[in-house]
């Protein structure tokens, strides 16, 4: 059967999610923070490539390095979760599968992020 409702009528009442501006803003804020933080990661990896374990742990566990790494993990977690959310919403249109993917996205990011945080804290405490 032909749907005689106008496009406007179909969406009326659904309301806006009212999260667009917040998503955009957090995506840009974390993108900005990611620039110095990922350059720092690249620098750190180059410094530590080929070094023995004791040197690596001493460096990674030192206060400033550990704080910078924690900042990177936090910023990247928020950024990659929002980014993947956009991709999921762009390509997956069935409501059920979309929700499952969004949940998995959140779980993945938290799992990876907490693993990093755990390792950084352990290194700081002298692992």
């Amino acid at each position: 059967m032909a749907d005689m409702r106008t496009p406007l009528n179909k969406v009326r009442g659904l309301g806006s999610a009212r999260e667009g501006a917040d998503h955009f803003w957090r995506q840009r804020l974390t993108a900005l923070a990611n620039i110095p933080l990922t350059l720092f990661l690249v620098f750190t990896v180059i410094m530590l490539a080929g070094k023995d374990h004791a040197t690596v742990t001493a460096y990674l566990g030192s206060s400033l390095v550990a704080i910078a790494l924690l900042a990177l993990v936090l910023s990247a977690m928020v950024h990659m979760r929002l980014g993947m959310q956009t991709v999921i919403e762009d390509y997956i249109h069935s409501e059920g599968l979309k929700v499952v993917c969004l949940i998995l996205n959140t779980f993945f990011v938290i799992l990876v992020g907490l693993s990093c945080v755990y390792a950084i804290v352990k290194l700081s405490l002298g692992a």
Binding site: A2, D3, M4, R28, A31, L32, N34, I35, T38, L41, V42, V45, I46, M47, A49, G50, D52, H53, A54, V56, T57, L60, L69, A76, M80, G83, M84, V87, V112, S115, C116, Y118, A119, I120, K122, L123, A127
Partner: protein, 135 residues
């Protein structure tokens, strides 16, 4: 699809494969692909940190893997994805200010992004290999 009704006869825009591939299109796709690659690559960062935190034996095993040809290819790709995505992000920042939408500028920024990402990645690896004593 093919729904009868008031909207059925509207013209449809041509689909993706109709358009000529352009540098700007490719840069847009690459920004998304590198974002996805970095998403997966976050596992590598977590692995490396956990390995360092878990002791010399396991850390040596993991850095040994990183030192294989395959490991280096993965790390090289990761470096490029990171740098390319970062430059693409800077391009987005310029657009966010409302400028840089003139076609010649867009084309120029697309070129700068790809040449810049390849150049910077090569530079980073040159520095890294020099510091660690060559290949």
């Amino acid at each position: 699809m093919a729904q009868a009704g008031p909207q059925a006869d509207r013209p449809l825009s041509p689909h993706l494969q109709i358009y000529k591939p352009m540098l700007t299109t490719i840069m847009s796709i690459l920004h998304r692909l590198t974002g996805m690659a970095l998403y997966a690559g976050s596992l590598l960062v977590a692995w490396w940190l956990l390995a360092a935190a878990s002791g010399p034996q396991y850390y040596n095993f993991v850095s040994g893997l990183a030192d294989t040809i395959f490991g280096r290819i993965v790390l090289f790709a990761y470096t490029w994805a990171l740098i390319h995505h970062m430059l693409g992000g800077i391009r987005h920042f310029i657009w966010d200010t409302g400028s840089g939408f003139e076609l010649p500028t867009v084309e120029l920024m697309a070129r700068a992004t790809i040449i810049g990402s390849l150049g910077l990645t090569a530079l980073i690896w040159a520095v890294a290999l020099t510091m660690t004593g060559g290949l």
